[in-house]
Symmetry: C2
Subunit: 375 residues, 2 copies
């Protein structure tokens, strides 16, 4: 049986990013496993979709490209664009893996992670069992569409399953969910001449809102919405969808309510679009974590499971209190926190982490974070 010091599950933004830190720490026996290929989730994006955080080569002046997962790299530099498409971003991750000579094994499906009595893990894959002292769960968060929110959701199409908005048949659409995915879908449908109604629980489009972009639409999306021809997109704000029904004569009936109980019925010819987010791939290892009351996994201050030592979490599902690390420029700040714990236990020299600390890629003091802007 192959034995490792560390197994990273997932070769996406989190897996490749943390792999770079392990490489810089000269950890020798580690491997990155991916069911598919490097950056596979990004390759599945709808054709029109782009990163919402802008890429810019500020690196040389201490401002790391927002979409970079590693020091001294910049998607803006590699790709020459401010808002990469999914496949472009996957190209950047591949270039980085090649440059750092990361030990990535693709086409390996992790089925179970089993803690061993004396510490460490057996990682069961479709190609056999691997053993490791440490496991970093960095599997994609955007693989399992969140579809089960209400009765009749099965009649709808999840936004992530659309290959290209321009090719979707139909003239009028209803989108359930008005955050980034819903807005993105609406923008591309409107650009290709269709009319769209968005049903959203909140009214965040119209408010200035928080300065934390996890809680408000990105500037990129606000700009794009302003450019849409008047009347193409209608926002039904403050409405929660309760059910969808298929009508006998064809088409769909969508029922929504406001918080005050005001009812609204909408009909649409085309299947409604669900922009309701994703269930993370954490479920494979869910039982190995304790959970917070809000359902998120409970993590130690080093993003380690509080139930099973040696199992770490990296990527957008990392959360501490009110702080959600859902964007790349946020969760990358925790890579070196995790890696330093593992390195310490392996007795490896921590000196290579100094540049990470200096460049803001090793966020240990969380008191600094959260709502910030005064103007």
């Amino acid at each position: 049986m192959e034995v490792f010091d560390c197994i990273v599950v997932g070769a996406g933004a989190a897996g490749i990013g943390i792999g770079c830190v392990l490489r810089d720490l000269n950890i020798e026996r580690f491997v990155i496993l991916d069911r598919s290929e490097i950056g596979a989730s990004f390759r599945c994006w709808p054709a029109e979709m782009r990163m919402i955080t802008p890429s810019f080569t500020g690196n040389a002046y201490g401002i790391l490209d927002l979409n970079s997962v590693s020091l001294k790299t910049s998607p803006a530099y590699t790709l020459g664009t401010e808002h990469p498409s999914g496949p472009q971003y996957a190209d950047y991750l591949e270039a980085l893996a090649a440059y750092k000579q990361l030990p990535v094994r693709t086409g390996v499906d992790v089925r179970q992670v089993r803690p061993l009595e004396g510490g460490g893990f057996d990682v069961e894959t479709d190609g056999g069992v691997l053993r490791s002292r440490h496991v970093i769960w960095a599997a994609g968060e955007f693989q399992y569409p969140h579809t089960a929110g209400f009765p009749g959701a099965e009649h709808a199409i999840h936004s992530s399953l659309v290959r290209e908005w321009a090719q979707l048949p139909g003239d009028e659409f209803v989108i359930v969910g008005g955050y980034e995915s819903g807005a993105d879908a609406a923008i591309h449908l409107a650009r290709s001449g269709r009319k769209v109604t968005i049903i959203d629980r909140s009214g965040r489009w119209t408010e200035k809102g928080s300065s934390d972009p996890s809680l408000t639409l990105s500037p990129f999306t606000k700009d794009r919405l302003r450019q849409v021809e008047d009347g193409r997109i209608r926002l039904l704000a403050g409405h929660e969808v309760h059910w969808i029904e298929r009508k006998e004569e064809g088409g769909y009936l969508i029922y929504s309510e406001t918080a005050e109980g005001e009812s609204h019925f909408l009909t649409t010819e085309q299947p409604p679009i669900l922009a309701t987010g994703f269930a993370g791939s954490l479920r494979t290892v869910e039982a190995l974590f304790e959970h917070e009351p809000d359902g998120r996994v409970r993590l130690s201050e080093h993003d380690e499971s509080t139930r099973v030592p040696g199992l770490f979490l990296a990527g957008p599902s990392v959360a501490h209190g009110g702080l959600i690390f859902c964007f790349i420029y946020k969760f990358r700040q925790r890579f070196a926190v995790v890696a330093s714990q593992i390195a310490e236990r392996l007795g490896v020299d921590l000196a290579p982490l100094e540049p990470y600390r200096r460049e803001g890629m090793m966020l240990t003091d969380l008191s600094c974070c959260g709502e910030d802007c005064t103007c």
Copy 2:
């Protein structure tokens, strides 16, 4: 005569930014003077022009908005856009000046800065003389179009004097200079249906080039160029314009040469557009600085004149060796360096500078900077 501890000349990005630091340091007797109004140069931008560095509210996670001039502020948050127009950016500067209650005096033209024998300065304005121990020269760099490069340049229009590209009469244009201003002009002319030829000394459009955006086109501009309809913009790369002549029958003749001496003649009906940059407003105080062989002013490690102590420089004309601080996200890193020097001499508590240091707004070690990206 009014006496100050510090006079800041210019209420643009540099002047307002450094004013915020002086305010945070509780320096009491300072004033910011501007010939016109806050952010006046930004209000003069052509209507279609936008900031080329993207604004994003990463502040709460330690990544200050690239266009912010002060901690805990973000143009993306204030303006809700990724690429502000000139007037929008001036609005942000005004909001910031109001929030920080900066002592700005507008409509005051500084005519001369005269060093005094015992130290300090008399600052002669159109409204009388002010005296100060320290002067920070933060006057705009984009006020004096650079037009005198070659014979016949007077026949051309400098890009900064165009109010709106869409309104400029004519169908075909020649632009001299292919860096950001030239590319921006070409993009807007092409978008409004015109054909454009750009003559540029280098061929930087076609190369991947440096990862320092001072030396290569921004991702924003590369993206916009890709979106221009094929054939609308032609780049005559590697050509230097030698002269422009007015033709008897109307129109203009433009002569350019390659480094190898290859000649090229172009004719155009409309006056050529000069996108050849600006002469900074430093000339008012030029004599108070020593100069480097490349013509830039020589600065101490605190951005102070090496000839006249007490006179500091802030803004895009700051340079150290090969490092050019021409973008906002670069030159703002020197505000606190200057302010700490002044505060120290005034015997003021330096503790308020700690957040600046922590957030990368106090760049003292320049060895970190320069070419950086590996991929």
